[in-house]
C-alpha cells in the first residue's frame, strides 16, 4: 500500500491533475463565454451594456431638495387620509397643515429609502445593481411555516415575470394527445403562454419584443408620428430581446441583460409610465424604463397601482377609462393602445368591489419572494411560478359567503356547482374582443395605422363570454376542461360551445362586419367568411373532423372527468391568422407571427408575415435542433401526431404552404376580476331562455327542464 501523500506527489498523477484542471477551465470558459456568444449568434441577437438616459447622478443639494419634496408629498397624502373629509374645507386644510408640522408625524411619514440612500451615499439609481447593494438576499415566507433565504437576483431571473415561460411541472394543461404537459416522467419543454389575442403569440415575442412604428395620424397632416409597440412593454427584462437563454437546457441570461431588470415598475409608488417607450441605439430597439432617483426613493410595498401598470392591459384593457398607465403613454414614441380588450374585466375601484375595498393584489396572490401565485387552475397554458398554491375566493369568504339575502342558504347551495365568478361577473367591458381578423386589417384614421379588425366584440354574457364546466384542467390551446358531475357523455365543448357560434345576433353582427370588410377587400365571400368565423370546424375535412372527435373522446375524457367540475364563466376568443399548413392537425395549425412595423404601417399582412419569419429565430424553429429539442413534443401536445415538419414556409421570398384561417376552436380565458357585489338574479339562469344552456352543459332533458322552471321552487305548497 502506497502512502497517499506519496501518490499525490507522483509525477504522473500531477500531470493528470493539471490536465483535468485545464479541461475544467476550458469547459468553464466555454460555458461562460463561448456558449453565450455562440447562442447569440445562433438566434441572431446581440446585447450590450444597457444605459438609460434618466439614470442621472444628483448632487447632495439636489438629493436633499428631492427628498424634501418627496417627503412633503408623502406626508401630505397621509395627513389627508387621517383628517376626516366630513369637515369644512378650511378646517380640514388647517388640520392638515398642523400635522404637516408635527415632528413625530414628519419622522414617521418620510419614505423609508430617503434615509437609507442618504446614509449609503446613493445619489444615482442604476437598476438592480443599486437595489442588490442591500437586498442581495430575500427572506421568503412560504406560507406553510417554512422561511428560506434566497438570492434575490436569481429568484427574479427565474420567475415568470422575467422569463415568462417555465419548464417545471405543475401545469394543469393537457395536450390533445392526452398527456399532461411537463408532467413528471415526460420530457420537459419550455412553455409560456399561447396568447392568441396577440399577433405575436407565445415564443414569437422574439420577433416583436420592441418595435417602433411610423404612423400617419389625421391630425398630423401628412407628418409621421413614431409610436412604440411590443411585448417588452410589460415583461420586465430591459434587454434587446427576451430572456431566450432561459428556454434552453443550459446557459444563463447575460449579466448585462440582468442589469436591465426593471425593479421599480413593481416597487415604486412614483414610477413614471411616461418613461416606458421604445428607444433605438446602435444595437437595436429596446424598452426604456424609469430609473430616476425620484422613483427609486419612493419604493415601498407593492401596491395595486404597480401591478396594474401592466396587468390592467389584459384585464380592463388599454382603452378602459380607468386604466391609469394608459394615461401616461410616454414622453416620446408613445405606446400604441390596443382598442379591443383581452378580457374586459377591469380591476379598479369603479368596476371591482375588491379594488374598491382597497384589497391589494397580493392579498389574494400572496407572493413567496418574487414568485407570485396565479392559482392552481389554469386553462391557458400560462407558466406558473407556484402551481401548488391556491388563489381562491374561499380563502377569505369561507364556504358560506352569503349572509344578507333572504335566500342566503340557497345561494350558498349553488357553490357546489357554480364558481363565484359565474354570478358575480355579470358582464364584461363592451370592447371585449371575441373574433379578431388579423388577415384583413382596418385603417384607423385617427391613429394613422392599420389595425386588426375586431369582427365581433361584446361584454354580454352568452355572447362575449360563456359558461363551461371547469375542473382546473385546460388544453394546449386554452380550452377549459371539465364535465357535468352527472358524468354526461353529451357535454363536448370542443365540438360545440368553443367551436360554434349559433347566436343569431352574433351571426348578424359578423355578417355586417364581413360586408364592411368586403369594401376594402373585394375578394371576401361574405357567406363563406361568416361560416368560417362562426363555425371554424367547417374548415376541416370530414376525416380531420372525425379524427378530432376521436381524439377528444380518447385523449381528453379522463382530464375532463377528473376532480369536481363547477361552472365558470369563460371569455371566448378566436382569431384569423396566417397558418403554416404543413404543420396542421385537427385542432389547428402552427400560426405565424406578424412584423409590427410593417403591419401597422402598410396593412400588407402577407408582407408583414414574410418580414417576421425572416427573423433568425423563426428560421431556427424550422431546423433540426429545435425540432428535436422541443417542436416535436410541442406538436404532439398540439394534436399533430406526425411531428414537426421543418419545411420553412418562406421560399424565394414567397410564402409557401401558408393560408389564412380561423383557428379551429375558440380559446377560453378565465375571468376572475371585475367582481360585482350584486350577482345575477335567479331568473337570469332559471328561465327557459336563461344564460345557461342546460342541455349543452350536459343535463338530461328532464333535469334541464326542471332547472329552467323556477316556479317549482316557489310553489307555495
Amino acid at each position: 500500500m502506497k502512502n497517499p501523500i506519496h501518490t499525490l506527489s507522483n509525477a504522473r498523477f500531477s500531470r493528470l491533475a493539471i490536465a483535468l484542471a485545464i479541461l475544467l477551465l476550458v469547459l468553464a470558459i466555454g460555458y461562460k463565454v463561448v456558449y453565450p456568444w455562440a447562442f447569440q449568434l445562433y438566434v441572431g441577437e446581440s446585447s450590450a451594456i444597457l444605459t438609460y438616459p434618466n439614470s442621472q447622478p444628483l448632487t447632495d443639494a439636489e438629493f436633499e431638495t428631492l427628498s424634501r419634496e418627496l417627503s412633503e408629498q408623502a406626508r401630505r397624502e397621509r395627513a389627508a387620509e387621517i383628517v376626516g373629509v366630513d369637515q369644512a374645507d378650511f378646517a380640514r386644510e388647517v388640520k392638515i397643515e398642523m400635522l404637516m408640522g408635527t415632528p413625530s408625524f414628519v419622522r414617521e411619514s418620510e419614505p423609508s429609502h430617503i434615509k437609507y440612500f442618504r446614509d449609503a451615499g446613493i445619489r444615482q439609481y442604476q437598476g438592480p445593481k443599486t437595489c442588490l447593494r442591500c437586498h442581495a438576499t430575500t427572506k421568503v415566507d412560504h406560507g406553510d411555516g417554512r422561511v428560506t433565504t434566497v438570492d434575490t437576483l436569481d429568484d427574479i431571473v427565474n420567475s415568470v415575470h422575467f422569463k415568462f415561460q417555465s419548464d417545471a411541472d405543475g401545469f394543469s394543461t393537457y395536450g390533445y394527445d392526452g398527456r399532461k404537459v411537463n408532467a413528471p416522467g415526460e420530457r420537459r419543454i419550455p412553455v409560456g403562454k399561447i396568447n392568441r389575442a396577440c399577433g405575436i403569440p407565445g415564443s414569437f415575442s422574439w420577433t416583436g419584443w420592441a418595435a417602433l412604428v411610423e404612423t400617419r395620424p389625421e391630425h398630423a397632416e401628412g407628418a409621421t408620428v413614431t409610436r412604440s409597440e411590443g411585448c417588452g412593454q410589460c415583461h420586465i427584462g430591459g434587454n434587446y430581446y427576451p430572456a431566450t437563454e432561459k428556454m434552453m437546457p443550459i446557459g444563463d441570461v447575460p449579466v448585462d441583460a440582468k442589469d436591465g431588470i426593471d425593479c421599480l415598475i413593481c416597487h415604486s409608488a412614483e414610477y413614471d409610465m411616461n418613461q416606458r417607450y421604445v428607444m433605438r441605439d446602435d444595437i437595436g430597439p429596446r424598452w426604456n424604463q424609469d430609473r430616476s432617483l425620484r422613483a427609486a426613493l419612493s419604493v415601498g410595498p407593492v401596491a395595486n397601482r404597480n401591478c396594474l401598470n401592466c396587468h390592467q392591459h389584459n384585464m380592463g384593457g388599454d382603452a378602459y377609462l380607468h386604466n391609469v398607465a394608459a394615461k401616461s403613454l410616454g414622453e416620446k414614441n408613445q405606446r400604441l393602445l390596443h382598442k379591443g380588450a383581452k378580457r374586459g374585466n377591469p380591476f379598479s375601484p369603479t368596476d371591482d368591489l375588491h379594488a374598491a375595498a382597497n384589497i391589494q393584489c397580493t392579498d389574494c396572490h400572496v407572493p413567496e419572494g418574487h414568485k407570485i401565485p396565479r392559482g392552481r387552475f389554469g386553462v391557458d397554458l400560462v407558466a406558473n411560478d407556484l402551481p401548488g398554491k391556491d388563489v381562491a375566493c374561499e380563502g377569505c369568504h369561507s364556504r358560506a359567503p352569503h349572509n344578507q339575502s333572504e335566500h342566503k342558504a340557497l345561494l350558498n347551495g349553488h357553490i357546489a356547482r357554480l364558481a363565484c365568478e359565474t354570478c358575480h361577473i355579470r358582464e364584461l367591458q363592451e370592447n371585449n374582443v371575441v373574433l379578431r381578423d388579423w388577415v384583413h386589417p382596418t385603417w384607423d384614421a385617427e391613429e394613422g395605422l392599420w389595425e386588426p379588425t375586431d369582427v365581433y366584440r361584446s361584454g354580454k354574457p352568452g355572447k362575449g363570454f360563456t359558461y363551461l364546466w371547469f375542473n382546473g384542467n385546460g388544453t394546449f390551446l386554452a380550452n377549459a376542461l371539465g364535465n357535468n358531475p352527472n358524468g354526461s357523455t353529451d357535454y363536448n365543448p370542443l365540438m360545440r360551445q368553443m367551436a360554434r357560434i349559433e347566436d343569431p345576433e352574433i351571426l348578424a353582427a359578423v355578417r355586417a362586419k364581413a360586408i364592411e370588410l368586403k369594401r376594402t377587400y373585394p375578394d371576401i365571400d361574405v357567406d363563406a367568411y361568416v361560416t368560417a368565423a362562426t363555425d371554424p370546424l367547417s374548415q376541416l375535412s370530414p376525416e380531420m373532423r372525425e379524427r378530432r372527435r376521436a381524439m377528444i373522446r380518447d385523449n381528453l375524457t379522463a382530464a375532463m372527468n377528473e376532480g369536481e367540475s363547477r361552472i365558470y364563466p369563460f371569455k371566448l376568443f378566436n382569431a384569423m391568422m396566417f397558418e403554416d399548413m404543413g404543420n396542421q392537425g385537427p385542432f389547428g395549425a402552427m400560426i405565424l407571427p406578424f412584423d409590427y412595423a410593417s403591419y401597422y404601417e402598410t396593412g400588407d399582412t402577407q408582407a408583414s408575415v414574410i418580414q417576421a419569419i425572416r427573423d433568425p429565430i423563426v428560421r431556427r424553429m424550422y431546423q433540426q435542433p429545435f425540432k428535436l429539442y422541443m417542436m416535436d413534443e410541442f406538436m404532439s401536445y398540439f394534436g399533430v401526431t406526425e411531428g414537426w415538419r421543418t419545411d420553412y414556409p418562406l421560399v424565394d421570398g414567397k410564402l409557401k404552404g401558408v393560408e389564412p384561417h380561423w383557428m379551429r376552436q375558440m380559446g377560453a380565458l378565465m375571468i376572475n376580476h371585475g367582481i360585482q357585489r350584486q350577482g345575477h338574479e335567479c331568473k337570469d339562469c332559471h328561465a327557459p331562455d336563461g344564460l345557461l344552456d342546460y342541455a349543452a352543459l350536459g343535463y338530461e332533458p328532464e333535469r334541464a327542464a326542471e332547472l329552467m322552471d323556477l316556479d317549482v321552487l316557489q310553489a307555495a305548497d
Binding site: R399, N403, H407, K408, N412, H414, I415, A416, A716
Partner: protein, 316 residues
Amino acid sequence: MSFVPIRFEIGRPAAPWSLIGVLALLMLGLGRPAVAIEADKQTKACLRCHAMETIAYRDPVSREIVDLSIAPRLLPHSVHGELACTECHRKSYRRYPHPEEAERESFSCVGCHEDDSAEATYQLKTVESEYRQSVHVAPGAKHADRFNCHSCHDPHVFKVSRVGTDIAQVVRDGNQVCLSCHEKARDPQLGSHAWLPKRDAHWESVRCVDCHTPASAEPSRVSHQILTAEDSNRDCVACHSRDARLLNRLYQYRSEEDLARRGLFAKAIFNEAYIVGMSRSPLVDWISLLIIGLTLLVLTAHGLGRYLAYRRRRNR
C-alpha cells in the same frame, strides 16, 4: 362540526299518526303504497334545494356555518328514508321561503318510537336513560343545551345495522361521528390519546364507544351513556383479556359483522374479528412457560446424562 339549532326534547310524545299509517301499510305488504309515493314526491321537492351539497348559512348568533344539505343518495337507505320530510318536520316547511316559526321545531325520537316495534329492537327507553347520564348532557358540559340525538346520529343518513359492511368501514364511520367534534383528539402530540400504544391501530379497529361507555349488561349492545375521559376504560387488559364482558362485546360484534359479510369459509380463514391479545392470560402464560422451561431443563439434563454415560461406556 356545528349543531343544527333545532331543539330536541327527549321523551315528549308526538304521536305521528301518519308514520303509523305508513308502517301499517308497509306491513300489510302493499308494495309501494300511495302514501309512500306521495312521500317520495314531497321529498323530491325538498331535495331540490337540500340536495345541494353546499346549502348552508352562517348562523348570526353562533357565527358557525350551519349545514343544511342532505345527501340524496344516502337518504333513501337511512332508517327514516321511507318517510316524507313533513312526517318529522313541520308542514309549514313546504313553503319557500320557509316561515320563521318553522325554525323552532322540536323532534322526539323516543316519542315517535314509543309504541312501535322498533322499541323492542332498539330499546329506546334504555337508550334514553343512558343518554341522560351521558357526559354530553351532564350539567356544565359545553354545548349541553344544544346537544341532542341528531348531534351524533344524522337523521337523514343514519341506519342502524350495517350488516354486510366492511368492519373497518363500520369503525371508521362510527368514529367519524365522534371525531367530527372532537377534532383535537386527532392531534398525535396534543391528543388526549397520546398515552394509548398504537393509537391509530386502535382507532382503525375499535370504536370510540367501546372504551367510552360502561360495559352494559348485554354484550352486543353499546350503552348510550358516554363516559367522561376519567371514567373511560384505560385498562389494556380490560379488552386484551380479562374482562370477559368487554371482550365479548368487542369480539362478538366484530365476528357477527365479519360472518355476515364474508360467509362461513372466508370467515374461517381470515377471521377479521380477532383482537390482538384477546387470548392473553398472564397466569396461564406464566405457568405454561414455566412448565415448558422446566421440561426443557429436565430434557437437557437427561440428554447430557445420556451423553456422559455413552462416553463412559466408550472409554471403557
